[in-house]
């Protein structure tokens, strides 16, 4: 049975690296994997998403609305924006972090309140303080790998070889930091 994981966030948050690491470990474990991402305009601070599907044989690289088994959001409002991609019995894993958009930055509208609480009433939700933990680790950018650690624990993929995936896909000087971040993420679930 094909599983579908959708990762969403804001341009620059590192959704693509998290997706790359996850797919590398899944391929290593023998799954057929397809992954999709959209490049270009949305990268400039806009909403971004990447999608990963794995199973015995996968055809479509894209996830339809109502078809994601897992929705991973690196930002609160992006979780609310894409929640309709999640199956009614799916799992939401959300970074407890807000990033303003142009319209909330300039005070024209307020950043919505109570997002995670509202969503968690509808669907099984893990709230992860990944940005705060990353800053404690000394580099806010490893938020994505902390989230990855939490995701693989929450959905039972933590037996896969993520250490190898990290070593092969991360720049040498950041490998140790990312390995730490991954372990820290696993402990959050």
């Amino acid at each position: 049975m094909t599983k579908s994981i959708k990762l969403v966030g804001v341009g620059g948050q590192g959704t693509i690296l998290a997706t790359t690491l996850l797919s590398a470990a899944l391929v290593e474990a023998g799954f057929d994997v397809k992954m999709s991402e959209i490049h270009g305009m949305s990268q400039r601070g806009g909403s971004v998403s990447s999608e990963i599907r794995y199973g015995q044989k996968v055809y479509s690289p894209v996830i339809m609305k109502g078809n994601a088994d897992v929705l991973v959001s690196f930002e609160q409002m992006e979780a609310a924006r894409t929640i309709d991609y999640l199956k009614k019995d799916g799992v939401l894993i959300v970074n407890n972090h807000k990033i303003n958009s142009m319209v909330t930055l300039n005070g024209k509208v307020q950043y919505p309140e109570n997002i995670i609480n509202t969503l968690s009433e509808k669907v099984k939700t893990y709230k992860i303080d990944a940005t705060d933990l990353a800053i404690e680790l000394g580099n806010s950018k490893v938020m994505n790998v902390i989230m990855l650690g939490a995701v693989v624990k929450a959905i039972g993929l933590d037996h896969l070889n993520f250490e190898k995936a990290i070593r092969e896909n991360v720049k040498e000087k950041f490998i140790e930091l990312n390995l730490q971040a991954f372990e820290l993420g696993k402990k959050q679930v």
Partner: protein, 595 residues
Amino acid sequence: MKKILTGNQAVARGAYEAGVHFASAYPGTPSTEILENLGTYKEIVAEWAPNEKVALESVIGASIAGGRSIASMKHVGVNVAADPLFTFAYTGVNGGSVLITADEPGMHSSQNEQDNRNYAKFAKIPMFEPSNSQESLDMVKYAFDFSEKFDSIVLFRMTTRVCHSKGSVTLGERIEVPIKKYEKDFDKYVSVPAIGRKLRHKVEDRLNRLKEYTETSKWNYSVDNKSKVGVIASGMSYEYAWEALGETVDYLKLGFTYPLPRILIDDFCKEHDTVYIIEENDPIIEEFARLNNKNIIGKDLFPYTGEMTPDVIKRCILSENIEGVESNTELFVGRPPTFCSGCPHRGFFYELGKKRKKIVVSGDIGCYSLAVGEPYNLMDWLICMGASFSSGHGAQRIFDMNPEENRRIVSIMGDSTFFHTGINSLLNTVYNGGKTINVILDNRITGMTGQQDNPGSGYNIQGNNTVIGDIEGICKAIGIKNVRRVNPNELDKVKEVINWAMELDDISVIITDWPCVLKKRYQPEDFEKYNQMWQTKDYVDQDLCVGCKACLRCGCPSLVFDPEKKKVSIDENTCVGCDVCLQICPYDAIKKVGE
């Protein structure tokens, strides 16, 4: 060896394995990473060209000289390259030659949704369409032998999802193909009319041979699931159809799609009660199949625009609507893309915005197209690469016929767009005595597609130093006397130079001179020239901020307004100290950290 690759990585790998000698491209989503990947192979001479026409022409020369060559571009790029394409279709090749078109059903990052499969029929050249990463590698590798066998350039049509989706790919080894002998052959390569008329018959003979080939091509095959319902599809639509319909239908999978296989399609239609033709954009397979068959359902059921994703197919064929967790629209607001913190376009558009009522802004393709959005709303039209100067000129001609309206054109393009096709446009204006204001936002890189080098960046695709094209020198050389450079982060100077240009009764060029905040490679003198580039940070003195929000009009994502405290602060993680907001603040509340 197995690797997980995007379609773009796979097609580059396939070209490498096919022994390709030469590659050229102009960046354009979703095709950009093809040449970026080809550039990593030391066996291949890979080059960024200033535009797609130049890229294809270089590839044509490489083929005539005996090398295997490949050009890649986005769908609209093929329009730019169409002129050489249509005649190269007549001459044929020496070394195998492939043109990759990366189409955008759904327009994720493009201005239109044109279906470049039409180009194969239009130019009378063979076409392949891969559905996934493995096919991208295998087909392109096959296409070079094919090109030499049929003596034709091959059109290789990909779409966004094929380009940017990753899948598992089995890699092969590079075949070292010797460069073919070059022999003078006027009757093949010099397409004067007398020879063109002969070549025209050769093209028709080739089409006839291709029509035979397509019936038995290994890339066109049917899948029998013992159903009375059939689906015909190519490219990503084939994968989507399997996802949506699985083994409930039979399939005719088309990978070699021009010329289409008449017998295969007619037989498949005869063997099934109903045949769905699932294709993105134009009904090309459908119109071909309908000539001889009546049991076809196509665009009468499926949408004429956008991607034929599995949900679309399920909704259309099975009337099945899948609902996920219910959305609460009050929990999110818009998040459009925006200029980065420190983007050198910000200061210029902030100052230009003050002239909004007096000017008409002719726009172009690049990051600066984001100026159409909040808070600038500064773009009256946007057509295609290089069109801002020329369309601005034409508009000014008409506006000048109503002098009482006093409309003034400001045409805007970036450095890469200027090198692409902007030089010709500017030459037209000055030659014809036009009087527009022409702005070149020189950020020393091709920004929107992800920081590719260009003739003004100082580097080639391999990262080696090369000449830096002199934009100011080009403008002066074509006869423009009023050319000024300005640092876009110095607002007083930007204001002064815009006023200067507005007051001239003559053509002018303003070059804003500051690098893209994301540019990766610099020459040492750049650091001297762009003093303290992104080495500093700004902050808001909370005692002095009165919450007037004047600074927010520059649209910087590092500025955060707190509606409760009614004060602005600056996100220290993203601020790079460009000082644009600091110059705007009427209360001097914004200061430099450490000063």
